[in-house]
């Protein structure tokens, strides 16, 4: 060891424990957030490419080979553009709103287990924490719509707020079913409860809840076919119609980060997280393919992230009253019924969660 490394190690050892903890945790946070931001940037590129191919178009193909540098060019453009604050807007809240919508989408990653051992905060109430944080995302939308002091933005904010509240309830009930099956609120424990073959993952025993969760996830992130909050043909662009430059960009990043988060949660709660789909197959028992790893989590997440884009290119937009009907009158009864079925089954000791 050179003198320099010894010196650095000694300095590190001399720091108070609290400070060392803070430094290590901060580094871990950056280790999660920076890749996440890159994923979000390239998610926008993937969206344009995927939808373009579905429309038999080329998609972005000018910046770099195959348009691969497009997200960087977009980011630079938005950073350089002026953020215009409307004259009658509430300046403070107008600037605060995009930030409020971004923070929960990033903070929820603290409890997401990325592989068997690494999770930033392994807390007991992980599922509740995620639910609480995603329920705070609606403030960004409401405040953005209100602070703009514009009718279109306000209408978009109102639509989006009532939609998010409605679908949050269905989502919460779907999660109740998961935690009954998993027997824990800790996300790592929930994944471990799904150990076995592909058929023992929760998507099969909780199939109705899985469907409700995925569709509510689309609605919760204001994605097509539930993007009535934006509704270009009716209310221009909804809550962010007055935003320009990077303030708009942050709303954009928040939306995509939320999509990635919902994909991750779907995988963790219903598709065995980092568990391998080849786990139960006898011939592969000791091979690397059957081991749980981050790769499995990532590839399953990619599939659900693709589903978000797929549905956008496939379905026409719902009418607003039908969105509300689906949330309140279809999804909530389905989830309640399935929780009842699950409760009876687990009381009678039948089924996978006995």
């Amino acid at each position: 060891m050179t003198d320099l490394t010894i010196f650095m190690l000694q300095t590190w050892g001399a720091l108070p424990e609290v400070l060392r903890f803070i430094v290590v945790t901060t580094l871990k946070i950056f280790g999660i957030i920076l890749p996440l931001i890159i994923v979000v940037a390239y998610y926008t590129y993937a969206e344009r490419k995927v939808i373009a191919f579905m429309h038999a178009r080329m998609g972005p193909n000018r910046v770099g080979p195959m348009g691969i540098l497009q997200p960087i060019a977009d980011t630079l453009k938005m950073l350089l553009k002026e953020v215009i604050v409307p004259a009658n807007a509430n300046r403070f809240l107008f600037v605060l709103a995009p930030v409020i919508s971004l923070i929960p989408a990033l903070a929820a990653w603290a409890v997401i287990p990325l592989n068997e051992t690494f999770v930033l905060a392994d807390i007991n109430a992980g599922l509740l924490y995620v639910l609480a944080l995603t329920s705070m995302g609606v403030y960004g939308v409401i405040l953005g719509g209100w602070a703009s002091n514009s009718k279109y933005a306000f209408l978009g904010a109102m639509r989006s707020a009532s939609q998010m509240i409605a679908y949050e309830i269905a989502m919460g009930f779907a999660l109740v079913g998961v935690l009954m099956a998993g027997g824990s609120l800790n996300l790592g424990e929930i994944i471990r409860a799904q150990e076995g073959t592909v058929l023992s993952w929760f998507w099969l025993p909780l199939f109705p809840l899985f469907l409700v969760y995925l569709i509510s996830g689309f609605a919760e992130t204001n994605r097509s076919p539930f993007d009535v909050a934006e509704g270009e043909s009716e209310i221009v662009a909804g809550f962010h119609v007055e935003y320009s430059g990077i303030a708009f960009g942050i709303f954009f990043v928040a939306e995509y980060a939320n999509m990635v988060l919902i994909a991750a949660l779907t995988v963790i709660l219903f598709f065995g997280g980092w568990l391998s789909p080849l786990q139960g197959i006898p011939g592969l028992k000791d091979s690397i393919l059957a081991q749980p790893s981050f790769g499995w989590l990532a590839s399953k997440m990619l599939f659900f992230m693709f589903c978000f884009l797929w549905s956008r290119a496939t379905f026409p937009r719902y009418r607003y009253d039908q969105v509300m009907r689906l949330g309140w009158k279809v999804f909530i009864p389905i989830t309640i019924a399935w929780i009842g079925v699950e409760a009876v089954m687990s009381y009678m000791d039948i089924g996978p969660w006995a």
Partner: protein, 199 residues
Amino acid sequence: MINGILFYTFATVLVFAALGVISSRNPVHSVLFLVLSFTQSSALWLLLGAEFLAIVLVLVYVGAVMVLFLFVVMMLDVNAEQMREGFTRYLPLGLAVAFVLVVEIGYVIGFKIPGSPFSSVPEGYPADYSNIKELGAVLYTEHVYAFELAAVILLVAIVAAITLTMRKRPGLKKQKISEQVSVRREDRVRLVKVEPFKE
């Protein structure tokens, strides 16, 4: 030491946010200050190790109740000046109530009556202690009747609120969504085979 710093930071922000609720001119700002004070008090609960209560406070109050509050306050045209009219008139009464409350809290915590649960600092629980499990165990065994009773009362309140606001107006044109959803292509589109026109 870290706990102390965190506690005083959160507590200071909490007090200022609570003052902001009653002193800000814009009702929307008041609601937002209330949201801030809820999040701060949930942080205080986290410091006490009551993670379930802290997260449920955020989930229920910040995530649901205050969103509806904000909704209503933004939609209504609340005149803040009109609501502020009685401020000086009610100030002495408010101060008196606040004084009684402060004395009571101080009496319980500050004077450390021997034998009361506040006379000594309660021992902390180990890190793997799950207060969700404990709460659930108590709530569904010992206090199950009170719990069910509360649920029934809430249900009655919901039914009452809905009946109060439900009005049947004659001649109202309504969309029958179930009919709209169950429509088939055959009901709407008729494919006709047209013979090509020939001279």
